[in-house]
Amino acid sequence: MATAAISAERENYLNKEYGIRSWLLTTDHKRIALLYLASITFFFFIGGFFALLIRLELLTPAGDLVQADTYNKLFSMHGQVMIFFFLIPSIPAVLGNFLVPLMIGAKDLAFPRINLLSWYLYIIAGTIYLHCIVTGGVDTGWTFYTPFSTAFSNTRVIEAGISIFIAGFSSILTGLNFVVTIHRMRAPGMTWSRLPLFIWAMYATSIIQLLGTPVLAITLLLVVFERAFNLGIFDPTRGGDPLLFQHLFWFYSHPAVYIMILPAMAVESEVVACFTRKRIFGYNFVAMSSIAIAVFGFLVWAHHMFVAGISLYSALVFSILSYLVAVPSAIKVFNWTATMYKGSISFTTPMLYAFGFIGLFTMGGLTGLFLACLGIDVHVHDTYFVIAHFHYIMVGGAVMGYLGGLHFWWPKISGRMYPEAWGRLAALLVFSGFNLTFFPQFILGYMGMPRRYWQYPPEFQVLNVLSTAGSTILAIGYVLPMVYFLWSMRYGKIASDNPWGAAGLEWKTSSPPPTFNFDEEPEVTWEAYNYEQIPAPAEVNIER
């Protein structure tokens, strides 16, 4: 504990410099991570606010809270804000930015100024989107389908398109930075096979960001041009093909879901290893499965278009490929579970999120297979079944991974412990609130309730009420960490260098780390997850 007290007073990246300029002009990857943390949290609550209004409207079968046009805007902007301004950046821009250099033993990312530029692009994009919201919003669905978005919608489509276009470049530059950093800046002895699985998964995520996002960018640009200059590329009355838009859009947007889930899987590997005090079972398989997900993820996009009018033969091919893409994810789930076998498990907050992740991600993933089946998809496409499916993965999976990661690395980031009891309470609230919100939606969808509908037949009401009730519990579960994380920065217990007794280079430096990460360049002579060499901390900070 003496070292802990010294740690907090030592010069670190937080107390090295004060003042707003030192934050807004920083090139320190750790500070940039915190800049992102603040911004994406802000947008999370904006997106959450839209969700709240949606769930309130859906308490009753009639459309009585908002008008139909407004409802269209609510679900469209909920989707866009949550995906582009929260989920896509979340783990990569916050945890990735903070941890990638630390985990590989580098002083910073390869291009620190481009890193800062990434954040500014995100902020510019976010500001434009906020302006879009207050000047009328978008009602095209988060997917901008043509020809509605190009020819018929009366909302701020161009502005939203430009905003997301810019946000895309933020994402691309982050990915570029990670790939170059991981290739070029590993410390001596840090071979590929000694990398934490977190790095493998972030690397795979970055590949997707690099290769997929540009296609979204050009697609949005074409939509903007079409709308601004009345071109006709996607207009069926002029020979354009709306499905061309969908092909181009989903070529990015399907791999985008892997941008959202792979980082959560990255967190999962680290958390499971630490709180079972074992090397992840099948390290090579888990590492390779990350790459496989990144590659296979690009081969399945038209499964979003099964009933849109693509040819039956291409639908068959995409269906088969969609089944195959589940395999590497399943491999990960099996390996995490196998890691826990005969492990020494402690139920800390991050581990609770990790357990939640495995269960909920598996359910979301399996229901994806339902959707990959052509016959079933005809029945449940565009229903609440799909909504439940992707929320299980993106919220039950990605957001829980994000929260678990925030808790796990909070001591490293802030030098403080969060209050463990509150952490566990919040985790349980999130888990139960989440299931109450979204499980009824599987049933609703299967029963036939369409998505994006502002009103519904009365027989669906009970399940909708359950869902809304769940969402309020979920909301509380999200607000709690915000409160106690902030509280902990002032009053939290001071953290030692390695409060969890975890493996990984980031735990070998102080909490919080110094600006250049390590006092001396580390030299790695051990394998990843060398838990047999790391003593378990006595009473792992489970104090209140």
């Binding site: 580098a106 291009f111 170059v180 800046m185 690099l210 296609v215």
Partner: protein, 233 residues
């Protein structure tokens, strides 16, 4: 100091603090630029995809539109870009050999070729404007319909060809403009003596970007100009 977000320039020849040595810095810059070019391949690629599909559907209109482009200006422009790639490659070589004045001359020549390309492109676009081939309210391809009575030209499909023509050449021209801007910065710093045989990474990286923009045009030229130039029966 360059503000271009895309150029991977460094603050002078000194080693940046987070790199272990100059070689790591250079290798990082190189990988970074190649990865960026990969993203550019996918960026243009989306439009190549749209082009591929609509050419498959509307071959006649694409052929007619292609014929209405000036093949001489297109060929000259292709040659201009090839010359500019030569000056860039020779420029990198001059930097490698520490020949400052030669480097500056070659960089300036590159910029001149860049402007020449843009000027010729401007002329071509102006021609299209005069012929009412710019998509929008003034779009009119009665001239093409008349010129090709033997094939059915649907003006709506013809507009798709020209939409793609302007989108693709427009995006390419934008990249050229950015390239010229980058090279202006490079010329200035080269003149100031910043680049030596030990440190000429920005010249190399700028060169890679420029060559890439050239390669995009190498594909745009046949795809847009040479669809069907067979003598009409």
């Amino acid at each position: 100091m360059s503000d271009s977000p895309i150029a991977v320039e460094q603050h002078g020849p000194e080693l940046l603090h987070h790199f272990v040595d100059a070689e790591q810095q250079r290798d990082a810059a190189s990988l970074g630029m190649w990865l960026f070019l990969a993203t550019e391949v996918m960026f243009f690629g989306g439009m190549f995809c749209a082009y591929l599909i609509y050419r498959y559907w509307y071959y006649n209109e694409f052929a007619a539109g292609s014929r209405s482009l000036d093949i001489y200006l297109g060929t000259i422009n292709t040659a201009v870009l090839i010359c500019s790639s030569l000056t860039v490659a020779l420029g990198v070589r001059a930097a490698q050999m520490g020949k400052r004045k030669l480097l500056v001359v070659l960089l300036l020549l590159t910029i001149v070729f860049g402007f020449a390309f843009l000027a010729i492109k401007g002329v071509e676009w102006y021609d299209k404007y005069k012929e009412h081939h710019i998509p929008g309210n003034a779009f009119n391809v009665d001239d093409l319909v008349k010129d090709y009575p033997q094939i059915h030209i649907d003006p709506r499909h013809e507009q798709i060809y020209f939409s793609l023509y302007f989108a693709m050449t427009g995006l390419h021209a934008l990249h050229m403009i950015i390239g010229v801007g980058i090279f202006m910065f490079l010329t200035y710093y080269a003149w100031k003596g910043r680049y030596t045989p030990k440190y000429y990474t920005p010249i190399e990286m700028g060169g890679l970007y420029w060559h890439f923009v050239d390669i995009v045009w190498i594909y745009l030229f046949p795809l847009l100009y040479l669809i069907d130039r067979k003598p009409l029966r």
